[in-house]
Structures are given as C-alpha cells and as structure tokens.
Amino acid sequence: MTRALLRYVLADALRGQRWAAPVLLYLAGTTAFDTGLGSALSCYSFTASLLLPVSLWLTVAIGNSEDQTQAAITIVTVGSPLRVLLAKLLAAYLVSLPVAGFGVAWALITVHPVTPTALAAGTVAHLLCPLAGVAAAAPLIRPVLDRLAWVVFLSVGVILAETTIPGCPPVRSLLVLFAQEPLDAGHVAATLPLITLETAALATALVAAGYRLSQHRR
C-alpha cells in the first residue's frame, strides 16, 4: 500500500504543477551562478544550499496539494495520518533528487577539474540539504499551517537559521567544510558522517514535531 500511496501523492501533486516554480528557481539560480570564478566546492556550496529553500518550497507544494476534504478521504482510506504525511514527505524528497542531481552535474559541466573528494562531498551535500528542507517543511504544511503568510515567514526563519547558526546541520556545517580549500580527504571522511547523522537526527525531530502538531490541528 505504501507504493500505491506514494504513486497517488505523486500523481496528484505533479498534475498540480505547483512544483514547477521551485524547480525553475533552482535551475535558474544554478545556471546563473558564475562558476567561472569559483572552484567545484564553491559551486557545490551554492547549489547544495539553494536546495534547502527549493526542497522546502517543493514540500509545501506537494504537502498542500490535496484539498482538506480530499486529504480526509485519503487518511480514512489509508487508515493512518502518519503514513499519509510520510508519503507526502517522501514524494517531495523523491522530486527533489533529480533537481539535486542537476546541481551535482552542473559543477561537472562547468568547473574543471572536479576532484573525486569534492565530487563525493558535493553529492552527499546534495542529498542532505533537500532532506533538511523536506523535514523542515513538515511542521509548515496543512493541517498545521494553512495561511501562506505564516508559511513564508517561518520558511525564511528556517533558511536564516540554517545558514547563520554556527554548526547547524546540514547547510551551515557544509558551508564551513566547503570553505576549506583545498579539501582534505581525511577531514571530509571524518566530518561528513557526523553532519549526516546530525541532519538525520534534526530531520527526524522536525518530522515528529510536524506530525504531533498536525494531530492537534486535525
């Protein structure tokens, strides 16, 4: 049933085309970024960081794709609001992945050369940032928040927190890591798993908070 639920969420959300704006924003932002002056790591810093607001926006678009009445039928049919929420978040992450793939590929196309260490670190960064963006959107979608103004306001807060709070996983931590050039493979191997674990923990906490809040609002 999980695959069926995922298929339904994707079919409904992708027909809505609300996903197009954040995807176009990412494509435009990435291609407009002047890689001629930067290295692969500076390119990855930008393209991975940009995935945070883009995946957050995508998740809000996909998570709010269903009208509340339609969502009620889905929850009753599935029998679990948690499974429906997780399916929406997973769908948003899956849609974010090709977008992230474009970000990884962009540096390969425009920056020469890209070292294996930079490529590996960049790939992990492009997997972690959308994970954080999707999870951060969990408390921002219906039924927790319905008013767009609040969603925008809190989304900006999330982005500012991620980029400015020292040690905040994954964006701030990755920006600090990628600022060290040339990249030391040993340092990357030691730091990236830690950032991954911190991001996973943060994402789990945000999704749990989103579910708990949604239960109060349902």
């Binding site: 069926a4 639920l5 339904y8 079919a11 009620a72 929850i75 049919t77 029998g79 239960q215 109060h216």
Partner: protein, 224 residues
C-alpha cells in the same frame, strides 16, 4: 423478537464503531463542535443523523472515521476498513474520475484490474456523465458526488460514513445508492448517514438529532 429465537437469548452484534464521551473543537479557544457524544453502531446497522446546518454532523462523521481527531473522549473504529463520503469532493481535484478511483482502489489493497472493473461497474450503476475520463473538477455537482460515492464502495468495508450522500443526485443514482447501501449492510458494514432527508429514516436502526454538537436519540415515532 424474531420468531424461532428462544426467549431470553440476545444475539451479540459486533460493534463496528463506538464513540464514548467524545468532544471536538478545532482550536483551543473555539466553540465545541461536538459535546459529550456517545454513539455505537453495529454490523449491518443503519444509523441516521439529522441536524441543522452547522450542528456538527460533518464533524461527527469525520471524527468517527478518523478524518478528524477527537479533542476528548475515545473512538474505537475499524482502522483501514472505512468508507467515507464527504459532502462534496473538492472542485480542484485534477485527476480524472477513473484515475482517482484506481488510486483509491490501490490504497484499499485492490489490484489494478479489479479496481478498474469495480470502478466501471459503480460508475455505470451511478450513471456518471460524461464518463470516467473527465477531470473531477470539471464534473457537475451530482456527478462529482457519484465519484465520491464510488470511491467509498470500491471495496468491502466495515464502516461506511456518508455525509449527505444523495446531495445533488438524480433519481436513478439515488436508487442505486440505496441499493449499494443495502448491499454493504448485508455484507456486515455499519452505515452512518448524515442527512436532511427524512426518507432515510425508513429502515434505519437508529436515528439521532445533533443540536449544537449534542447528540440526542430521536423518538421512535419521529424516526420511523
């Protein structure tokens, strides 16, 4: 008591949904939409709920099905085996009727072939016009309602909650709806209907009136 049953023996009826002391409000400072509601519906029963606009009928069905969460009290329901028909499917639903029903059937664990066959049967019986390939948002109110009904009857369920199910339906579809409800009851489903139409009282096992969120049984002479 039916003939042939020894005196003093009461047949046990399996309770499909039970609400005990259920209260519901949508915000911490909001008014109570439901207050101290007690309700039980057994297998094969038909329970009719009437009440004015805003009395809490839709909220009650949403809480009983799990679409909404009770603020206080407890609801025991058959999880994952519930058919729910809201007052109306949203107009912005972009899938076609056929696509939507296939997805809903798959969510109920039916395979695609079975779902398509059942969808075609239901939409044929309910006479969906112009057909299953039209986006739901472009359907008229009555045809939109037919799709909402069809998704609830795709697979056997233990609880059917229908919120003004005959709203906007033509006479043919209304007769088919009554037949579908009868079939579901014979298969053991408890059926809850919120309505303004007293015709539903005929054949009902219980009838209640909801007033400002409070549920009261209707007198037998009113409900029969």
């Amino acid at each position: 008591m039916p003939a042939g049953r020894p005196a003093g023996i009461v047949l046990a009826v399996q309770i499909m949904v039970r609400a005990r002391g259920v209260w519901k409000r949508y915000s911490r400072w909001g008014d109570w939409a439901l207050a101290a509601v007690d309700l039980a519906a057994g297998a094969g029963s038909l329970t009719v709920i009437v009440g004015g606009n805003g009395s809490g009928k839709s909220t009650l069905l949403r809480v009983l099905t799990g679409a909404a969460r009770e603020t206080r009290g407890r609801v025991v329901r058959p999880v994952g085996s519930i058919g729910y028909v809201p007052e109306r499917l949203p107009a912005q639903l972009r899938l076609t009727a056929g696509q939507y029903l296939v997805h809903m059937g798959r969510l109920r664990g039916l395979d695609r072939r079975h779902t398509e066959a059942r969808s075609a049967e239901l939409l044929g019986r309910l006479a969906l016009y112009p057909g299953p390939d039209v986006p739901i948002g472009e359907l008229s109110k009555g045809n939109n309602q037919k799709v909402a009904l069809a998704q609830a009857f795709l697979a056997p369920v233990r609880l059917l909650a229908l919120d003004e199910p005959d709203s906007g339906l033509d006479a043919t579809a209304a007769a088919e709806l009554a037949e579908l409800i009868g079939q579901a009851r014979r298969a053991g489903a408890a059926v809850l209907i919120s309505t303004h139409d007293p015709a539903w009282f005929r054949g009902a096992d219980a009838a209640f009136e909801l007033t400002a969120g409070r549920l009261a049984p209707l007198a037998p002479d009113v409900s029969r």
